[in-house]
C-alpha cells in the first residue's frame, strides 16, 4: 500500500488543467507544458499507433511549428470524468505563406494529482495536406 494519498480532482480543476494545457500549447509555453504533464506521461496518436514520452514530445515541440506562423486551439468542448477528460476542438493554423488550415481533433486524457498522465489523440491524417496548404489537397477542414 502506498502511504501517499492522491486527491481526486474536481470537475473544475480538471477543466482548468485542460485549458491550461491547450493555452500553453498555443502560446508556445514549454515551461508550462512541463508543469502540467506528469513526468511519466504517455502520448499516443491514432495516426501513428505508438506511444511517445513526455521528453520526446517536449523536445520536438518547436519543430512541430515548422512552416506555421500561428496555431490556436478553438471551439473547445470539454467533458470530465473521475480521472480525466475528453476534449473536442478545432486546431486552426496560419502557415508562414498565409494559408489557413483547420483540423478537427479529439483528445482523451487521464489525470492524477493535478497533472496529465496520458493523452490519446484522434485525428484524420488525410486532412494534413489541406491543413498545410499542399497543392494536391482535395479536402479542407472547417468549423465543427
Amino acid at each position: 500500500m502506498t502511504t501517499t494519498e492522491l486527491r481526486t480532482m474536481t470537475d473544475g480543476e480538471i477543466r482548468e488543467l485542460c485549458n491550461r494545457f491547450f493555452d500553453a500549447y498555443q502560446d508556445k509555453r514549454v515551461d508550462i507544458l512541463d508543469e502540467v504533464l506528469a513526468d511519466d506521461c504517455i502520448i499516443w496518436h491514432n495516426v501513428f499507433g505508438r506511444e511517445t514520452t513526455k521528453a520526446d514530445n517536449l523536445s520536438k515541440y518547436h519543430d512541430s511549428y515548422d512552416g506555421q506562423r500561428r496555431r490556436t486551439y478553438d471551439d473547445r468542448t470539454i467533458n470530465t470524468f473521475d480521472d480525466g477528460f475528453v476534449i473536442q476542438y478545432s486546431l486552426n493554423g496560419v502557415m508562414t505563406n498565409g494559408h489557413r488550415g483547420s483540423l478537427w481533433i479529439c483528445i482523451v486524457a487521464r489525470v492524477r494529482d493535478g497533472r496529465i498522465t496520458r493523452i490519446d489523440e484522434y485525428m484524420d491524417s488525410s486532412k494534413f495536406a489541406a491543413w498545410a496548404g499542399a497543392p494536391t489537397a482535395a479536402t479542407s477542414g472547417g468549423q465543427r
Partner: protein
Amino acid sequence: MTTTTGQRSTDTVHRELCHALFDALERGDVDAVARCYAPEMTLWANITGHEQTRDENLASIEKGKELLRRRTYDDRQIHTFDDGFVAQYTVTAVTHDGTRRALWACLVAEVHDGLITKLFDYLDSSKFGVPDR
C-alpha cells in the same frame, strides 16, 4: 460526477447504452441501433465534417452491412459523464475476400433520458486501405 437514476447510476446506464450501440452495430441489427437513438439524434464525423440525421445514419448502417463479412468493436474503453460518454475502441472489419482491417477510433456521445442525442466520431480515414494492422 455520477448521479443515480432509480436503481442504477448514470454511469451504469450510459455504459449499458454504449455497449448496446456497439453490440447492435456488430450484429448489423439496425432496429436495435435505432432503439439507442433519440428521434432528433445526429451524427457528426471528423472525416466528412458533415452531420447526419438519425434516418440518414440508419440508412447508411443498413447499406454498409453489404460491404463487409464481419465488423467488431473491440478494446472498448468507456468513460461516462453526466450527459454522455466517450468510447475509445478498435473497429475490426473483415471484407468478403477475407482481408482484415482495423483502425482506432473515438466516439463521443451526448445522452438525454437514456437515449443518444448526438454522436461525434473521430478516426483516421487513411487507415481504411491498410490491411492487417
